[in-house]
């Protein structure tokens, strides 16, 4: 029995997702629950598991394709089973990326419900009919007296961007491991022909380069321009080691998740004017309480306390729980705290919803669950979106102080550093206390320094108020 694999609707917000990679190829055996593909939403890269066991019979939508959720992307069944003929229901590229809602719909529904592109993408306009001069025997516009040549002469467009090179010249350039785009073509229509490559090599002293044959082959395979190496080689001869060095220095594409992080944080850091306020919190008593509670069986983290303290502070300062684009301000109706979790491949921010309504124990359990699932890559998109304030705790990483970049959609983020024993003046006595620095990054468009100071001190106050914790635990 053939089963259709549909693109799961992973969150409330996703209408379309992009297929990043098929982990399984057609013909591969698939176990139930096994990961078959990776997808990318606006927020994250995710893995999709199979609901069925069997063999991957057909992939309807390939890598790089964006498909609406809940459409068929593949079929799983027994080897040899007939697979329904399904066309991939892709969506036009124009509907992705930044949404242009004011531009009106770019698509209209087709009779079978799939969107149809209304017009070709720019740059792919059809060839104007006048360009094709029919050969004799073909129909000729407005004339039946064909005087045309034998070869239907295709007049290349005047577009200067077309890079024209003959297969022979290209082969020589590749074998010589040089970049042919710098060569001036002298063939018909400016095409680069073999003699142009030879002239170019001669003019650039290619023949004086000393290259080991293996190095040349490797450079050709890796697409490295040997002429760019002239003079840079160690010693006079270009060797495999030189090529390998260049290959290793080459930029490589970031992982998809890193690209998303980069995009989002750059957007935030360039749009929101950040400023930073730092306080030191005395966590001596909280640490003692944690030790006691741990002995009793519950291992609360510092973060649990900070989440609760921050949630309380946010209730007091709803403006911090808001967001602005510089023109309007939008207050979030709930207090949903993001908790930055560092993973090997990047950063994810699971969200503790309605943190202000939760008990410390509930916060603890929720944070523990989210963190664990974040580390094993099993968070759902909804669990990583729409936080209203974020806490980034690097306390376990032995840092004295740091600043964080505000999550897009929020106005502030709290950077929590490591606790350290310090001599502190208390009641005019120098005593040893465990102190922890907290730095608030704020969006100056919405939050001024005084507000930031008051808000941050409110967090500190709640955090240090041991009687509060004794009451809550």
């Amino acid at each position: 029995m053939v089963k259709a694999v549909t693109m799961p609707k992973l969150g409330q917000s996703e209408e379309t997702v992009k297929i990043v990679k098929w982990r399984k190829q057609v013909g591969d055996a698939v176990a139930k629950g096994e990961i078959i593909l990776e997808i990318e939403t606006d927020k994250a890269v995710l893995e999709v598991e199979s609901f069925f066991a069997g063999t991957l019979l057909k992939v309807v939508a390939g890598e790089g394709v964006t498909v609406p959720v809940q459409t068929t992307v593949a079929f799983i069944g027994d080897p040899g089973e007939a697979v329904p003929d399904v066309a991939p229901s892709t969506t036009p590229a124009a509907t992705h990326g930044p949404k242009h809602e004011s531009m009106g719909p770019l698509t209209r529904p087709s009779p079978d419900g799939h969107p149809l592109p209304l017009e070709r993408e720019k740059g792919l306009s059809p060839l104007p009919a006048e360009r094709v001069v029919p050969s004799g025997g073909d129909r000729v516009r407005g004339s039946v007296t064909s005087q045309s040549s034998n070869e239907g002469s295709f007049q290349p467009s005047a577009s200067p961007e077309v890079f024209r090179i003959s297969p022979r010249a290209l082969k020589l350039a590749k074998e010589s491991a040089i970049d042919p785009t710098q060569i001036a073509g002298t063939g018909p229509g400016g095409r680069i022909v073999e003699r142009d490559v030879r002239d170019y090599l001669e003019a650039h002293g290619y023949n004086r380069l000393r290259i080991t044959p293996t190095a040349k082959k490797l450079a050709a395979r890796e697409g490295i321009d040997l002429l760019s190496l002239a003079g840079k080689a160690n010693g006079n001869q270009i060797t495999v080691a030189d090529i390998e060095r260049i290959v290793s220095e080459r930029p490589k594409p970031l992982a998809h998740i890193r690209q998303i992080i980069a995009r989002r944080l750059t957007e935030s850091y360039t749009h929101a004017p950040h400023f930073f306020v730092t306080v030191s919190a005395d966590i001596t008593e909280v640490e003692a309480l944690r030790a006691t509670l741990k002995a009793q069986g519950t291992a609360y983290t510092v973060s649990d306390f900070i989440v609760k303290a921050a949630a309380m502070a946010l209730e007091e300062f709803p403006i911090v729980n808001s967001v602005s684009d510089g023109e309007a301000v939008r207050a979030h109706s709930s207090i949903d705290l993001g908790l930055a979790v560092a993973l090997e491949q990047g950063l994810v921010v699971p969200v503790i919803r309605h943190a202000n309504e939760l008990t410390l124990a509930e916060i603890h359990l929720r944070a523990q669950d989210l963190t664990a699932r974040a580390r094993s890559g099993r968070l759902m998109p909804d669990e990583m979106t729409c936080s209203t304030f974020t806490i980034s705790n690097m306390g376990m990483l032995d840092v004295e102080n740091f600043t964080a970049i505000i999550n897009p959609g929020e106005s502030a983020i709290l950077a929590v550093s490591s606790g350290a024993k310090q001599p502190v003046v208390k009641n005019d006595q120098v005593v040893v206390r465990t102190m922890m620095k907290m730095t608030l990054s704020s969006d100056h468009r919405l939050i001024d320094g005084a507000l930031a100071a008051r808000f941050l001190n409110s967090i500190r106050k709640h955090f240090e108020e041991i009687s509060l914790w004794q009451r809550l635990t």
Binding site: G137, S146, N150, S166, A169, P188
Partner: protein
Amino acid sequence: MGENMTPVYLQDSRPDFAPFEIDCGTIPAFRYRGSLRSEMAEGRINAAAAIDLLEDMLMIREMEEMIVTVRSGAYEPLAGFNYRGPTHVSIGQEGASVGACSALILKDHITSTHRGHGDSLARGCCAIRGMSIEQLRKRVSHSTATTREELLEQALEEHVYRTIAELFGKEDGYCRGRGGSMHIADFTVGHLGANAIVGGGVPIATGAAMGLRYLHTGGVVCCFAGDGAYCNGVVLESLNWAAQAQFTNEMAGKHPFGVPIIYFVLNNHYAMTGRSDREVMGVSHVAQRAVGFADNRMHAEIINGMDVLATRDAVMRAAQGCRDGLGPYFFDVDTYRYFGHSLSDPRNEYRTRDEEAAWKAVDPILTFQKQLEDCNVLDEQGIAAVVKRVRGRNARAAVRAAQAADPPPADVIKYMYTDTFVDKVPPEFAKVEVLEPLAPIKRVNGEITYRDAIKEAVVEEMLRDSRVIFYGEDVAEYGGAFKLSKGMLEMFGRSRVFNTPISEACICGTAVGAAMIGLRPVVELMYMDFLLMAGDQVGNQASKWHYMSGAQVEVPMVLRVSVGAGKGYGGQHSQTLESTVVHVPGMYVIYPSTAYDAKGLMKSAIRDNNPVMFVESQGLYNEKGPVPDKEYLVPIGVADVKREGSDVTLVAYGPAVPLALKSAERLQAESSVSAEVVDLRTLVPLDLETVLMSVQKTGRCVVISQAVSVGSFTGEVASRVQQEAFDYLDAPVMRVGAKNGIAPQSHVLEAVFYPRVEDILVAVKSIL
């Protein structure tokens, strides 16, 4: 000159307008009044032979009923077997096929039709029954049987098996599954093939008979074809061909001998569904056709085809007449096809059930069974035993055939061409009679013309091998439209060099038949344009029979075609059509450009066992070139670099080669561009390697021919070059040919119609 008369014949037809009438004579119908009793009494048949007739008719009916039932899954021995293929059954016509074949002997031949299972089975059975014990042993070589009776039975079963295996498309079939029902053939018993082109086999039969006449074998060809075929041009041309006066009058010299062929018209009254009687013909009887072709009406008769003894009698008489040189014979054999054209034909749209019932009432098998009982040859049990024997044998064969191996898919185009050629002429053909030796062709500085080079090649090969014969329109006394064969009639006599009717289809078709029975005809089409008249015989017959027969037969013929471009002869005498022949695989295509190549390739073509189309350019006939005195061959399928160069490759063939060479000289002189000229010489097989080697060197390629570019072979070459040498190309592959139009008469127009040196220069310069 001695006893040998010069074959030159001067006609003396003077005006004589005295009134007179033509008496076309009469055609006897149903003259045979004999019966089994009378035949036995006269000693013309014995009981065993009579039973054989019944058994062979039953074998056909049983096999064809199997085809009918197996299609609906109702044939029990093959339940569930999926038969793909035609269902042209001849049930009802068994008396005609078996009677005719029973009157032939082993050295005779037949040709047959798309409805040819009966003819094929009958020919095989009758031939096998006529075999000696040694011949049977050879036929069933795997057998351990010792008695003739056992060997005979095994040979018969093998015959049914190989027939059904062919219908089922199996490697064990007579044609290795390449032919199937409509192309079944067994050349070992002189079955020259069933033919799926209605009438297509008739010129082949005629050519085979003409060949038997030439070889004096005493053999006869029985040409089975339906009434529908006798409306087809090539069939009527064949009748004319066979009845030519020159075969029997004084022009035939020492061998006035009619073409030994029996045109055996299986007149079942329907073409496919077209009614011969009152619809698609204007004569009441197909037999009347014969009146128009020979003063003796080709001994035409109408025969009762439902009576196996009547058809046997007719063919016995005709075969004897043929062996005595009295052919051709024409029999309009009245018979009936019980089923439709095929199983998808319900028949009731064009004929009545009453008509069918009336014919079934004179069923050839049932009426003959009754005679066998009446003559006490077999009683009811005896007949039942024969039926049982046939049924069992057929079922065993069918089951075995269904289970037999399919041809390996990797061999899908195996047998397209043969790689054999005549290395040594068998001694019986190496002795050649020369009447009046041709004066040696004079060499000036070692050079002769392209025309003389071809002539010298044909003459040398005719001297070497008596199987080589030469014919075409006006090739005899006149020496051909282009005087290429002048003196050849005088040298070899009219049995080897003769004029033909204006009958291009028959010129080609008879060459196929003659080649099938062992001759090596060289035939001429005056203009290549006329090739289209012979489309079926070239494309469907000459090109296909080696493959369709599963390599049972070779068709060693050379078809000379002359291209008339550039003479102001207009659209029907100026075409270069080799690309159309290349597009129908199966025939070699040669187009030489020099005298040297023309001679060497013609000699190779005549010795090769593939059919060869040899294209000649009238524009080159007078071009001289060095041709050695001594014997040489130019191998087929090897291109020749006519000029070396380094900047661009000009690929050409035929008259485009001198054009390319002139262009190369001008490129060198005017632009210092060094052009290499590759002369393909043969299009099939194509020596692409030489072209690729050159393109690899130069990086540029222009493919040139005199043909119009649309659909031209130049496109094939260009496409292969870009496919196989893409990385070596420094520019797109260009083509130069004639304009995509029709050759005009006007000199001014014609001058720009064909490719010129200027066109080549423009093409080359556009890619430099």
